[in-house]
């Protein structure tokens, strides 16, 4: 049974992310202890709440250091929606808070104000196992300027980053835990193609 840790930044309900992970074969805990962050086979940054709340709860130097070392050691990490934005350097949603800066880019207000609904992923490389799957988006902020990463994808006609992969750290602007069967397929794909995690 693979172990997953949902990073606790004391904001929204993580039940749906928890259920999503459990259904896909993980035992799930919620926490932010450095040892937990170190040992988790998969770390998930959930996507509920505002950038300011998340940033304020991630000031502890040791936690930031542990998160960055996970990135350097290529340990599987998934940032969902807000969880993806907190991995960037800053967000115009609350200019005086700063994110983890693991992704070399910023988060800004979307050109089309908000994006609600289902969209496909258009990758910058040939990934056909996800080609006819749709994923659920619900956000009004996103990042346009992360370019120096191995894999990227945008969705539909818009050009903000729907998905960014830097080593084993993945940021997704959509909600896999709210994308029904496609969400499960996406997690399986990450496990086998990106993280090499499947047992």
């Amino acid at each position: 049974m693979k172990k997953a840790l949902i990073l606790d930044y004391k904001i929204g309900n993580i039940t749906s992310v928890g259920t999503f992970l459990r259904e896909n074969g993980y035992s799930v805990t919620l926490g932010c202890e450095t040892t937990e962050i170190k040992n988790a086979e998969l770390l998930v940054l959930p996507g509920v709440g505002s950038f300011k709340m998340a940033a304020d709860n991630l000031q502890d130097k040791k936690i930031i250091h542990e998160l960055k070392s996970r990135h350097l050691n290529n340990k599987a990490t998934l940032g969902i929606c807000l969880g993806f934005q907190i991995l960037t350097k800053t967000s115009s949603e609350s200019p005086d808070s700063n994110g983890l800066g693991i992704f070399n880019g910023t988060t800004t207000r979307l050109k089309e104000f908000s994006r609600i609904g289902w969209g496909k992923l258009i990758f910058n490389q040939k990934i056909n196992s996800l080609k006819d799957h749709y994923f659920y988006f619900n956000h009004s902020y996103g990042s346009y300027d992360i370019i120096d990463t191995s894999m990227r994808a945008c969705s539909g006609q818009s050009d903000y980053n729907a998905l960014v992969a830097s080593g084993s750290t993945i940021g997704v602007q959509f909600h896999p835990e709210r994308s029904q069967k496609s969400g499960n397929k996406f997690l399986k794909w990450l496990e086998s193609e990106v993280w090499g995690l499947n047992d």
Binding site: T15, T19, S114, W118, Y134, Y136, S140, K181
Partner: protein, 246 residues
């Protein structure tokens, strides 16, 4: 963005009901069983309207969340019913529901409405406007003095949320009243991202609705419970030119 086929589930005393012009409520069953099937039919999202809300949104929601959470709902949800304070709205989002449905009377308290938008972000809000056509121009149900044209002026132009337009007179019927829909959308020409509801059952009407530029989703009510695989059938029969998740 592609268009969406949504489901409206109307609750009365903790059970789903069939609603007929916002008055007659007939019992259908518990939320859990319908949620389970709608998810298997891959409905795009589910809008839950609680008509018998108590004065405490927190108690109402806790009862429903048992059904929703312990039964692996992985479908985008929206919840509305008695949300009249910022804490109510925040609680709805914090409990894992994607969007909160704000009723007209909460919207008329404009400071509260902008607080909610600022705190949660426009994309987490659906403004529910039930429209009545009592002779002359359309008004908000229950507020004959609040004309749709006045309400339209209050909504900021680049507002990021969505507006659920329900034609009261078509509620529970087999066909929507296209005349009323045309008038309402005309008055609100400055906005788009509308969710149309009320009388949507036949796939031709649903195709027609989704073909309108201002419309991004159709939300189906009573018809869902009447016919097996209604969602799957609709998605198969809808004009292929319409971009939906198939």
């Amino acid at each position: 963005m592609i268009k969406r086929i949504a489901a409206t589930l109307i609750l009365d005393s903790n059970q789903i009901i069939n609603a007929y012009n916002f008055e007659v409520h007939l019992p259908v069953g518990k939320l859990k069983y319908t949620l389970e099937r709608l998810q298997e039919f891959e409905v795009d999202e589910i809008n839950i309207l609680n008509t018998s809300h108590s004065n405490s949104v927190v108690n109402d929601l806790d009862k429903l969340l048992e059904d929703i959470n312990n039964w692996h709902v992985s479908t985008p949800l929206a919840y509305g019913g008695g949300i009249s304070t910022l804490t109510d709205a925040v609680y709805v989002i914090k409990s894992g529901v994607e969007r909160v449905i704000i009723s007209a009377n909460t919207f008329f308290d404009f400071d509260l409405f902008s607080d909610i938008c600022r705190t949660l972000g426009d994309q987490a809000i659906i403004l529910h406007l039930p429209i009545e056509f009592k002779g002359g121009s359309p008004s908000i149900r229950g507020y004959s003095n609040k004309l749709l044209s006045d309400v339209n002026a209050l909504i900021p132009i680049n507002w990021g949320g969505e507006i659920m337009l329900t034609i009261v007179e078509s509620d529970g019927k087999k066909f929507p009243n296209w005349q009323n829909i045309g008038d309402a959308l005309g008055i609100m020409a400055g906005h788009s991202n509308f969710i149309l509801a009320g009388g949507f059952a036949d796939f031709k009407d649903i195709s027609a609705g989704l073909s309108l530029d201002q419309v991004s989703a159709i939300s189906i009510g009573n018809y869902l419970h009447r016919v097996e695989h209604s969602i799957i059938e609709i998605k198969q029969k809808i004009k292929s030119s319409i971009q939906i998740r198939r």
